[in-house]
Symmetry: C2
Subunit: 473 residues, 2 copies
């Protein structure tokens, strides 16, 4: 599986080994997610790098328990210093969480010249400055995309995407557990304790939920975001922090009466040369896009002087999304390592223009439009008489098109009436052929309007699902 | 204004001049935006780079017209080859748009060893592969964050943020003009032509709107996004493209009756080893977050195998947001140039851990919570008798807190009734002092619930604005 140089060898110039070796300290939920992503996307990653990125060694207190993935080729140890001192390892991923011993492991790894990837928000919020300084002095990289917003690449957005802008404010929904609970309380009118228990049974809240529902986790993430946005380290104790545990269903209901949604927001604002940083339940107008962020999803709204309002949305937690963020950091560091080893001379370009090295393209064939499948909205302008619906649905049926719902508007004074349908999934070619036939009918007064319909699990959104008929047609 | 080495000199190691020189070809709307951002954020950019990033030369057919910005120190020319052949210029920004002569200028600049930044979606969609190949062979960088999504850093997200993930689908609202028109048609029930005229008079649509409302601009952007997501170059002619010019208000109304919103979507999906790419008016369930993207805003929803659904939202056009994206590209290239000139030895780290070089921090003072200003939701549990509202609002008034609206719920059988208020902006300290006093009153049965309220232009969202009173209190 892990051969060297799987790709076009001429790309791999310089004294380059063809493999970047990764060591992982902490084989828990996110560690397992990261290992899964690395293995599942092995080929894609090789196409992005022009080299292999291999998880070579894992340290954990428990190396017996099965994580449900194949780790036969990975060396396991209970001693993290076997990784920290291993000269073969290029990058060390710290995923044990908490302050100590994570801090000591990272600082020791830095002093041994290892690049670091971590998702440890508590540690970075508390000792970030010390760790970043050590990395800078040792000339190693430290990346932490998984620390905030799970799979949302908000750290890169702040450091690179919005690098030309003066950030004026951040509003973040950065704790999925709290957002899930508030969403459920709002939808069901239930109280905090009841919803918390449900969330715990679904695995959306931990047995001890204090750090999540008390706002502490959000405060850690805010400290990291504010450091990137404003260049200001904020001691976590200076962040006013109030959780959702005292939010009453009555206040959520009143919020809605006023036109607001209740969210646990992490807020940092630059106001007249001073910085505000706080975490608390917050009402936001229901029409703002942040108010639509529901369930376990996270989102960070970043306001910049030039760019105005931006928003970055996705899954803020979970083994695979966060693992994927950790691997994106590994790819960035690997690109820089390879770059310095000579790929892309004369000027060295760590990131290829399209994100995949040009010799490793595997273009997909493009599907002709006739072959796509979609749901369709169809508006027929028809004569208002019995039998028309039957004739039209007969043609559709003969072309394998099944109708999900129908609306018929009130009878017009004279002339055509609209007959509107939503179909289930159908093939474009079948739809076009059916419409060609239908449009030739004497009862159809105008060319039929066709609009394609997209959406996840679309059927559940159909208010008229299965309701056929109407009067007269 | 543009001094050399404004920062701590020991940072600037190696044979490094302290200034990266930029040449601009095309001084139109986005060019002016880019120059504005570069000048306004000069100091912030120097803190990110540890060097100056200076716009040295501009070429345009019209160098007489005032752009409303100070360009006294910039050399102007009508001949782009004065920039392309200028050995002092490190990076050339192409912002003339269209295919030719932009393509020739870029290829010639590449062959003279210049790094390239462009926002030219038509060119990249048509000749991207040729240009990327030339850049790779010449060992220069080419970045194009401004080409899709204006100020939304979607290009970096695809190339770096989601680099560990297999992308399965992209759904983009990538044309602000079309989205503005569809939003207005939906809100007002007006027809396409009427809204287009309004959009033109507001500057949201061009005199010839064909490329925007016909879907061509979205198709260009989709070609670029699909190349990044799937590594597949798609000829623009192979993208099925249908614009919004035939969308009827009736269909928007029916869509809403079915629970959908109408959007012009650019869609690319990987389905069973084939790629679909199409642009057309699309109905999406109204509860999906993409359905909430209104007006001139853009958003790209990227679905990945690991990360699931993500969404990136912001201003998709406009001189300053797009200019800011162009400058973020300049910063990335400048970081790599400096990196190769020796900053950050022994390992070279182009992007500092916090995005700002550590010696250039300018931390902001942190505001104590008592000094923040917010709007507040207050729920008093009070005795249901005349005079209570007057007493409470009196205390609030004496603490400079003004009430925006009040809700009083129906009388309870016995005991406390809720009295709920939204305040205008007030100081936290004043609120806390007022509540301390109010909570001591015999008519107030429980500690008052306080929830802070955030939102842009919040007053316009208050349904009960200024409505005071209720019965009994």
């Amino acid at each position: 599986m892990m051969k060297n140089n799987p790709l076009n060898p001429p790309l791999l110039r310089g004294n380059f080994s063809g493999t970047i070796h990764v060591g992982l300290i902490g084989f828990g939920t996110v560690g397992t997610g990261m290992a899964t992503v690395l293995m599942e996307q092995e080929k894609l990653i090789a196409r992005r790098l022009g080299a292999n990125l291999v998880l070579t060694q894992i340290a954990d207190v428990d190396i017996k328990r099965s994580r449900g993935i194949n780790i036969k080729k990975i060396s396991l140890t209970t001693n993290p210093y076997e990784i920290i001192l291993n000269p073969k390892i290029d990058i060390i991923v710290e995923l044990i969480g908490g302050i100590e011993p994570a801090c000591k492991f990272i600082l020791d790894a830095i002093s041994h010249g290892k690049h670091i990837v971590t998702a440890n928000k508590a540690l970075l919020a508390t000792h970030g400055e010390k760790i970043f300084k050590a990395a800078e002095e040792a000339g190693v990289e430290i990346l932490f995309e998984g620390a905030v917003g799970g799979g949302i690449p908000i750290i890169r957005v702040m450091k690179e995407g919005l690098s030309a802008d003066k950030i004026t404010a951040i509003f973040g929904i950065v704790n999925g557990t709290s957002n899930y609970i508030l969403t459920k309380m709002s939808e069901e009118g239930s109280g905090f304790s009841k919803v918390l228990k449900e969330a715990q049974s679904l695995g959306y809240a931990e047995a001890d939920p204090t750090l999540d529902v008390g706002g502490g986790d959000s405060a850690h993430k805010l400290a990291i975001l504010a450091l990137l946005a404003f260049g200001t380290p904020i001691p976590v104790k200076d962040i006013f922090t109030e959780g959702i545990d005292k939010v009453a269903p009555m206040d959520i209901a009143f919020a809605e009466a006023f036109g607001y949604k209740m969210k646990l927001l992490a807020i940092a604002k630059q106001v007249k040369g001073k910085l505000e940083a706080r975490v608390h339940p917050t009402m936001i107008p229901k029409d703002e896009i942040l108010a639509k962020v529901n369930g376990v999803f996270n989102a960070v709204c970043v306001v910049g002087k030039s760019v105005g309002e931006t928003l970055f949305y996705g899954r803020g937690a979970g083994s695979i999304p966060t693992g994927s963020a950790v691997v994106s950091d590994l790819i960035s560091i690997a690109r820089n390592i390879l770059n310095q080893q000579g790929y892309g001379k004369p000027h060295r370009v760590p990131v290829p223009p399209t994100g995949i090295i040009s010799s490793a393209r595997l273009p997909l064939p493009i599907k002709p439009m006739a072959e796509i499948e979609s749901r369709y909205y169809l508006r027929f302008m028809v004569e208002d008489r019995p039998g028309v619906l039957s004739a039209i649905s007969g043609v559709l049926g003969r072309h394998h098109i099944s109708i999900a719902s129908v609306i018929q508007q009130g009878r017009k004074e004279a002339g055509a009436v609209p007959l509107v349908m939503m179909t289930h999934k159908a093939r474009e070619k079948d739809i076009q052929m059916a419409l060609e036939k239908i449009n030739q009918s004497d009862s159809v007064y105008k060319p039929t309007v066709l609009i394609r319909v997209e959406g996840k699990d679309i059927d559940q959104f159909l208010p008229f699902k299965g309701r056929l008929g109407g009067d007269g047609i």
